[in-house]
Symmetry: C2
Subunit: 180 residues, 2 copies
């Protein structure tokens, strides 16, 4: 960063279509091409599968991955209470703040943070604190369906991944290498 | 593939928003996690920049990249005639057909092919030939704005990357690590 400080962007990938987390993964490839340091924090456990996790290992040591979520509240029956999910989200937020402020990274990705917000696991005030903590040279990517109007207003780049057609509609199950 | 033949999908990333090629790059990360072989053919020269190209090197030897395009017709003033662009596109199509039929890859990405179609560099018949050549176990990803209705109809998965907000709107120039 000393040698080269680009203008960081606040980037939001939202919408109901596939490609949000996948685009965040693609940003890792590009950023690694510049030898940037990347911190990925996954707010919903289980959204990243074997393929992603193993593929990301090829981008080490530039990419640091943290899984902090506890599954989907009310989506996956995981026997965890809302309070446990909320606690996990709080830990994730504390970690995200630390990483964002550290100056160690050029790219921080908060995967599925929008979903955590929608579920009430992250409050609007906590989201604002995260966004406000971003140094101008850091690019911060927030993914997940249901981005708030406030976040879209605040962002530099917002793409809505809109589902036009999904394999489920053809009766095709989730596929290795594509879905997981 | 002998050991493990998933159902391949025909995937289309289209729309005017950012994230289409980036999502295709992300698919490479996931596929490499399964040690798949990937062939990437770029139909519009210059759409992939230093960061992507260097980052992809980290995914070798699984990823094979071919650049066959000759710039943007009528977009970048490249002193090339339509016939020269058409010739380059034809060479790219021949290469794509060869790779798709080879059985060597589990994932083939034809980056910006939709743009080549929109510009008339690839005919509807040629696109149909490409799609028809796909073995059922191969996943084929076609990116670029302006996917034809025929292609969307034929695809298993279509995501429209919709531009909600672009940094240009805030007067921010293209940024290293994000745009290139």
């Amino acid at each position: 960063m000393q040698k080269d400080s680009p203008t960081g962007l606040l980037i939001v990938y939202t919408g109901d279509g596939k490609g949000k987390t996948t685009a965040a993964l693609g940003m890792c490839v590009r950023a690694v091409g510049y030898n940037w340091n990347i911190c990925l924090i996954q707010f919903v456990k289980g959204s990243w599968k074997y393929g992603e996790l193993k593929g990301l290992k090829r981008l080490e040591p530039n990419v640091e991955l943290h899984v902090i979520g506890e599954g989907f509240v009310g989506i996956i029956d995981d026997n965890k209470s809302f309070d446990e999910h909320r606690e996990a989200a709080k830990n994730g937020l504390a970690l995200a703040l630390e990483k964002i402020k550290s100056g160690k990274y050029q790219l921080v990705i908060l995967d599925e943070l929008n979903v955590a917000c929608s579920l009430g696991l992250v409050t609007p005030e906590e989201l604002e604190e995260i966004v406000a903590a971003r140094p101008s040279e850091l690019s911060l990517v927030i993914t997940g369906r249901g981005a708030t109007d406030w976040l879209k207003e605040k962002a530099d780049l917002v793409t809505e991944m809109k589902e036009i057609k999904h394999p489920y509609q053809k009766g095709i199950l989730a596929q290795k290498g594509v879905d997981w």
